[in-house]
Symmetry: C2
Amino acid sequence: MTRATRTSPTLANVAAAAGVSRQTVSNVINTPGRVAPETRSRVQAAIETLNYRPNRVARSLRTRTSRLLGYCVQPAPVGMLNPVLDRFVHAITESAAEHGFHVLLFTAPAGAPGLDRYAELLAQQAVDGFVLSDTVVGDPRHGWLTAHGVPFSAFGRTWTGEDQGAWVDVDGAAGIGQAVAHVHAAGHRRIGFLGWPDGSGVGDDRLAGYQAGCRRFGVAPLVVRTDGGIEAGRTAAGGLLDRPDPPSALVCVSDLAAHGALRAVTERGLRPGHDIAITGFDDTPSAALPGIELTSLSQPIEQVGRAVVRMVLGPLGAAGPPTPPAGAAPHQLFEPTLVIRSSSHPKDDGGST
Amino acid sequence: MTRATRTSPTLANVAAAAGVSRQTVSNVINTPGRVAPETRSRVQAAIETLNYRPNRVARSLRTRTSRLLGYCVQPAPVGMLNPVLDRFVHAITESAAEHGFHVLLFTAPAGAPGLDRYAELLAQQAVDGFVLSDTVVGDPRHGWLTAHGVPFSAFGRTWTGEDQGAWVDVDGAAGIGQAVAHVHAAGHRRIGFLGWPDGSGVGDDRLAGYQAGCRRFGVAPLVVRTDGGIEAGRTAAGGLLDRPDPPSALVCVSDLAAHGALRAVTERGLRPGHDIAITGFDDTPSAALPGIELTSLSQPIEQVGRAVVRMVLGPLGAAGPPTPPAGAAPHQLFEPTLVIRSSSHPKDDGGST
DNA sequence: CAAGCCCTGTTGAACGATCCAACGACCCGC
DNA sequence: GCGGGTCGTTGGATCGTTCAACAGGGCTTG
């Protein structure tokens, strides 16, 4: 029918079809209130007929705004974070779309060398802001971006004293607190913690939650560190189990560590959920496997993604059906949900209420 | 030092600094061969001094090329595909970057309704082409994109008779063939197959590989179907195991089905890898868990990602260090690698060579 | 010696949208 | 009847880059 397969209609085409000027068509699209209703409907009919879509590139050039958010996909870290990262990418993409934004993916080396990529994208006007994740303790990105006045928000706290930029995070301390309360309610009094090495931010936070839980319930802390892998978790948990006074519950800093702990437990002829309670963190797909049934803390990634996008879009003045909250808080903390499975609560034995 | 925090230098600034015209600077960047060496180095010095980066948006407007590839993130299907999808996203992002492209994420409903999103991005000149994944049998995208002359390539075959567009895929039939050969070599002669329902393309391909393997080794096929979930796999595998003539090896269409099969096996007091061999497909992180140790087929996702990007960039005339192969094949098939673990090859018993 | 070509570099226009200043029409009040 | 304010609309300028056409110098060629 139309010859639209070759070139798209332009603003001038629509204006000609509707018998008005370009600016009037632009107003119908951007500030409909400024156009008389009769004119507006006529223009809209022309837009509909020609199936006109404003050229994003031309608009970007004039307004100096790309309506794109940059997100750096890291060079595939451990297998653990993947399911979380996957859902997060989907969440920010969907959330950005509601505000007329899209997500632009790029790669960059970790640390300060990677900043060049961020700078390049900005110099090229390729993005309006950034969404950060996988933040580490000495992360140079927050400081650099704030210093350059670039809008951004992060999934993960800065973990430094100075409060730089907006962030959203999951309250690991509260989550581990839930796990401690859960196993304590099940009657466990000797509760161990399988943690990460000092200085990882996330790990320290979760350890703090464990320690607070111990204080709250008046039990003695029993902490052992691993580097995060399954094998390391198995070794570390084995060390705890072979003590003369072994714990009857093991709260783990991650699902990966918990898998190692499960292994150490079964190797010693103990039944998880029966003889000893075990909990993990992240609620990865492997936690729900039959024969594993690991109690774990599920992160509200979709909520986190929405919140992160809201925060970065705040200073950018986004548009869309859900009105952007002008005074968005610079920080937001979500609490994870404890998903109870038989590793801490056997099916055949209801445990104590 | 510089006042570059406010606005980036422009082509005219560089031209003025080097004492040449805008076009000459443009030529230095895009077609260096057309500029005299002496002038070129002078311009490059100016570019270096001012830290100039060409404005991507202005370039896009003029050349009608966004140097962006669209990729649709699906609304989070089953948990299975996630690890694969995650690596795939990273692979195409990195591969596109080598050619000066970036990946733009968007969401769209499945099937024909989602085509509007593709059309919109094209009308807006937001992307130059698309990378497809999660292709299904009746997928309308291939036909629509080829009909509109849009460059694209897909991870996954079209599965229809008519050969529309470029694709890259993993040879599921060959992979399952490897698995059958592996268990046959271990001495198994009664080999069952846990498959998906008819008509899924991927599932049919893997089933065909199983049937070819049976013919090759002269063993009788024994097929049962499941809907893909763990529970369904457990039930289906149980049906096979409870037969009067149960198989001694179970080749599964996916890791998820294999997890179900593992469950059914252990429930009946059998030891996987010892009394019965089990293999999966995808080599998901959960396959490597201690206590599971599932033999599985690992997909070369990074290679697939590189190939997909090469194919979509072919008609777009990409630039970059690795010269784009002009006559790129429209199709490419990669063979998965069998990762042997104890579910088919116990540690304590070396099995037959 | 003149015509023609390649090589280098310059100029004006164009891509398609939005911003800006100005203008005509209209209504109101004096 | 006329000045002033508001609303809707208009044409021109602009964002930063690349395309098309062309000017001038040095060289070869008839």
